[in-house]
Symmetry: C2
Subunit: 144 residues, 2 copies
Amino acid sequence: MLSKKCKYAIHALVYLAEHYDQGPVQIEEIAKKQHIPHKFLEAILLELRHAEILESKKGKGGGYFLVKKPSEVNLMQVMRLIDGPIALLPCVSLNFYDRCEECKNEKTCGIRDSLTIVRDETLRVLEQSTLARILRREKQLAQK
Amino acid sequence: MLSKKCKYAIHALVYLAEHYDQGPVQIEEIAKKQHIPHKFLEAILLELRHAEILESKKGKGGGYFLVKKPSEVNLMQVMRLIDGPIALLPCVSLNFYDRCEECKNEKTCGIRDSLTIVRDETLRVLEQSTLARILRREKQLAQK
DNA sequence: TAAAAGCCTACTAAATCAATAGATTATAAA
DNA sequence: TTTATAATCTATTGATTTAGTAGGCTTTTA
């Protein structure tokens, strides 16, 4: 399961994608609209800024805004950044690989083989899930 | 990520599938062969017994054995049992559903929509990953 | 009847999660 | 140039989960 932090991050990003190219949005506004604790959100947005997904402006009229286009930010990036590995075991992870102590032979491990398929399918879907796509889908669903 | 407990459970089950129809296997044997702490494994196997995947025999010559066929036990069942939800958010879970406090409208949530696809793909693969299939795959990989 | 082997209850140390507090720094407008 | 605004940084904290451990109890079979 995703951590609350990661869920908050996604909601905040979708909100900022809705306000793309409309100038900075204050933490407080996002916090209120998305029901996220202000101080917690502060830390999350800072992390997204360090990852160069967001940028910020201080002082009056300041706030956060997307530096990447909504079509260039996807859930795979965000989840890896906030929660770490997407694979179900470290020995199956692409970005956070760690060898499996139990396995005698990683090459012939049947569990690993199954979980590699899960990983690849998951990555494929998450990579396609851009902020732009999420917004588009929301509008589609709202019309019905 | 899966918990260690869940990883241990899967390894133990694969081991028992290898010894299917060969009488009870003692906890100690599985613990040693799979490098799992004895007492921890005890608790895990008990849980699998309560879920009617395993059965046990007490006393000398006792131990654990599969009651289901290796082709009837899959990773979806085991993961749900040990780690709970497979979906990435509670509001997307089939077996552990919990409503999302942040969303105004769950029906039109674009995040939910993406994660529902991830869930379905993951379930599809995990359900196909039976103990029988894992064993078969290990033999295949070993031959190469 | 004694040894073997699983069963059950309780406890604990360490890590992670979900925040909160408070002081600091940068910016813009008055 | 001051003041209000808003992000930044450091640090601490309580709750929960994870990954076990300890120890006695019960059942079975040789």
